[in-house]
């Protein structure tokens, strides 16, 4: 590769070097630094899946001895917080998401052969069903960090769709 019209071979070499540097800086691998204290705490859970990070909170689904439950971990204190009324022995959680305040959690779970979408309020310790209109089977979700908008992946008639639900 040469620089057209350049009178100086040094300038051409410099151009090539700058171009190569530019390409590399656009795509340089960044080594990931694990957070050992948090990861050791997570390791004690057994299996963990479907993480949702927001603010100081990490929501996930943890499992031990074949039973799965939703867990909310305060990353500043590195410990789980109680979620009264959220987990129940006859329900299987499928996906979870938390807002940045750690106040609202959106949840998909299976119970009695049905797949349900629900919103949990931590301060009120209440779980409220969120019906889908038109009906469908929810599979994945995410709350925005403000806890005001919920995006849900829904199966309808063999097609995956995304619903947006504005929350009061």
């Amino acid at each position: 590769m040469t620089l057209q019209g350049s009178q100086h071979p040094g300038a051409a070499r410099l151009g090539v070097a700058l171009l190569a540097t530019g390409l590399l800086s656009a795509c340089v691998a960044t080594p990931l630094r694990p957070l050992p204290t948090i990861n050791q705490r997570l390791e004690q859970n057994g299996s963990n899946r479907d993480p949702s990070l927001s603010g100081r909170w990490l929501a996930l689904i943890s499992g031990r001895d074949g039973r799965e439950r939703v867990e909310l971990i305060d990353l500043e204190l590195n410990r789980p917080v109680p979620l009264p009324g959220l987990n129940r022995p006859d329900a299987q959680p499928l996906n979870v998401s938390v807002d940045a305040a750690g106040e609202r959690m959106a949840l998909i779970r299976q119970r009695d052969g049905r797949t349900e979408l629900a919103l949990y309020s931590r301060s009120r310790q209440s779980l409220q069903p969120l019906p889908l209109d038109p009906p469908g089977v929810p599979r994945q979700l995410q709350l925005d960090a403000n806890g005001r908008v919920l995006a849900v992946q829904v199966s309808r008639g063999g097609l995956w769709q995304v619903d947006l639900i504005e929350l009061p």
């Binding site: 800086s25 656009a26 795509c27 340089v28 691998a29 960044t30 080594p31 990931l32 630094r33 694990p34 957070l35 948090i38 990861n39 997570l42 390791e43 057994g46 299996s47 963990n48 899946r49 479907d50 993480p51 949702s52 990070l53 927001s54 603010g55 990490l58 996930l60 499992g63 990353l75 940045a100 919103l119 409220q128 069903p129 969120l130 019906p131 889908l132 209109d133 599979r139 994945q140 979700l141 995410q142 709350l143 925005d144 960090a145 403000n146 005001r148 908008v149 995006a151 849900v152 992946q153 097609l159 995956w160 769709q161 995304v162 619903d163 947006l164 639900i165 504005e166 929350l167 009061p168």
Partner: protein, 176 residues
């Protein structure tokens, strides 16, 4: 009694249902299969994974208008999965396929940089979640036949993406 209960439950759930609506159209296909939705922290942007020319590809849109926003580095390395956005959508984290390996990457939409995030030990991510401020990343992996979640520090790699209106608390900014 049952009727009263049904009415009570209906009254409880109806206001939510009224606010549900489909994600904005991408404009080129009516029956678009769309998965893995992710909102920016402020709810302004929506990322999702669509089937485009038979390949699972991340799509970024403004939630209110449906306007499609360009992703400079993510037109290849399909299939894409598990997108995640920061507060104002400066960062889009997603899992891509490079060669025969799955890899987490972050596209910085402000600087147009792409950050590949290889996992220590050559492990591969299954799902991810980026903290809204861009300072932490949670990855779901498979290890010894079970799901596992690990959290990583991005504070040295990414600038903060704070919510709109929140000033960065730097020493310079703190000086009167």
């Amino acid at each position: 009694m049952a009727a009263a209960l049904a009415v009570g439950l209906g009254a409880c759930s109806l206001p939510w249902a009224r606010r549900s609506r489909p994600a904005p159209s991408a404009g080129w296909e009516a029956n678009l299969s769309r998965q893995d939705p992710a909102l920016s922290g402020d709810g302004r942007l929506l990322a999702s994974v669509i089937e485009r020319q038979g390949r699972s590809t991340v799509l970024l849109q403004e939630r209110s208008s449906g306007r499609v926003l360009p992703l400079r580095h993510l037109s290849r390395w399909q299939p894409h999965s598990s997108p995640s956005l920061s507060w104002r959508g400066r960062y889009l984290a997603v899992i891509v396929q490079r060669g025969d390996r799955r890899l987490a990457v972050i596209e910085d939409r402000l600087t147009n940089r792409l950050l590949p995030l290889p996992l220590p030990g050559g492990r591969e991510p299954v799902r991810l979640s980026l903290a809204p401020d861009g300072q932490r990343l949670a990855l779901q992996l498979v290890a010894s036949g079970r799901w596992r979640v690990e959290v990583f520090d991005l504070a040295g790699a990414l600038e903060l993406d704070p919510p709109a209106g929140e000033l960065l608390r730097t020493p310079a900014a703190a000086t009167p």
